[in-house]
Symmetry: C2
Subunit: 223 residues, 2 copies
């Protein structure tokens, strides 16, 4: 990379950070917990959000901002659960940026508890962009392989929690959940790690409990 | 994106294209078929290359350039098959560029038939970078979902062949191979599509046959 490119990249990240801080301040002021979901394509981000929508129904209110290179599909899936959703299509770009979230944030209802931001499916680039979230989840599905944390360390280093998804497929795969867990913890000791099968509804309650505890901390000013 | 950023991106792609053309000319001069493999993390690029190494043993010679953000793991897997391999670690960058290939190409034995380049696991960014290959394979694994071609169109548009991997997992998944196929063909009509299970060795012979036919065309000057 040339010096000029590096400078442009640094300027972009500084601008992004400013926009992200404004979003974080606004969400905290409203008492909303912002959660940014990162993973490879097809790791089960939307399926996890669908399962959380089922679990939270009647107890907690959520909204979702969906990021994709193309299509409205993920927002449509979320809306079918009765949850408000906005689709951002990046038209080629490989990650969401805070200014994209800033354009939508005004439309988000003030009385929700959780604002989930589902990033573009990409385990590399989105790690560098703060979207103003309070929590960052990195998902890793069993079929992707237990060797991925060390191969994509930036995402795992930036995570508050790692969610091992598609656990129902593990019996059919050469996947060792203990190795995945050990690799993630070697990158970031103390990381919260959950194992779920959204298809079977298993383990989603653990993630929900973590979210509710985080929301309580945010609202009592201990975030 | 600012005008300055767009200009830098365009200049980078132009420089990359020049380096790629030099690599393509060099490979063709040596009668080597260059193949660039693109996919999400964990779609089975390395497993496909391992299966091809088994199939080609004693009949065709291959070499592999591995691209990863971090670790030498994939090159080590390939070397265990008796195939020469070079690992490029990008140290954070989300794709390979032609100049990275240019630094390694001089070490590649002159008497091989196939040079495979396994890109960084990322279904977005690598699509924009020509590495001087003659063929581009895009892999999509069954657990990623049949809705991915329309969500990540640039990769599929740039492909010469799409390889649907991990077919052995399809019975355990809500995955419709016909939908995946139809979506890919809607983006690029006439695309070659193969279905494989590298774990079971199924369908790899079809990919091998396509590679050998492409090599024959290259060497007879009909590429």
């Amino acid at each position: 990379m040339t010096v000029k490119t590096l400078t442009v990249a640094r300027d972009l990240l500084a601008t992004n950070k400013q926009a992200a801080e404004a979003i974080r301040a606004e969400l905290r002021r409203r008492g909303i917990l912002g959660v940014n979901l990162l993973s490879s394509p097809g790791s089960g981000k939307t399926a996890l959000l669908e399962a959380l929508a089922d679990l939270f129904r009647g107890r907690h209110r959520m909204a979702v901002i969906e990021g994709d290179v193309e299509t409205e599909r993920d927002a449509e899936r979320i809306r079918r659960k009765g949850v408000p959703a906005w689709q951002i299509t990046t038209g080629g770009a490989c990650h969401l940026e805070a200014r994209m979230i800033g354009k939508v944030i005004g439309e988000v209802p003030a009385d929700i508890d959780f604002l989930f931001i589902e990033n573009v499916g990409n385990l590399v680039c989105p790690a560098s962009y703060d979207l103003g979230e309070d929590l960052r989840f990195v998902l890793l599905s069993a079929p992707e392989g237990d060797d991925k944390p060390a191969k994509y360390p930036a995402a795992f280093l930036s995570a508050d929690a790692v969610i091992l998804t598609k656990a129902d497929l593990a019996p059919h795969l050469p996947f060792d959940p203990e190795r995945a867990r050990a690799e993630a913890l070697a990158i970031k000791p103390g990381l919260e790690i959950f194992t779920v099968s959204a298809l079977r509804g298993e383990g989603v309650d653990g993630v929900a409990g973590f979210l509710v505890a985080s929301l309580d901390r945010l609202r009592s000013g201990r975030a």
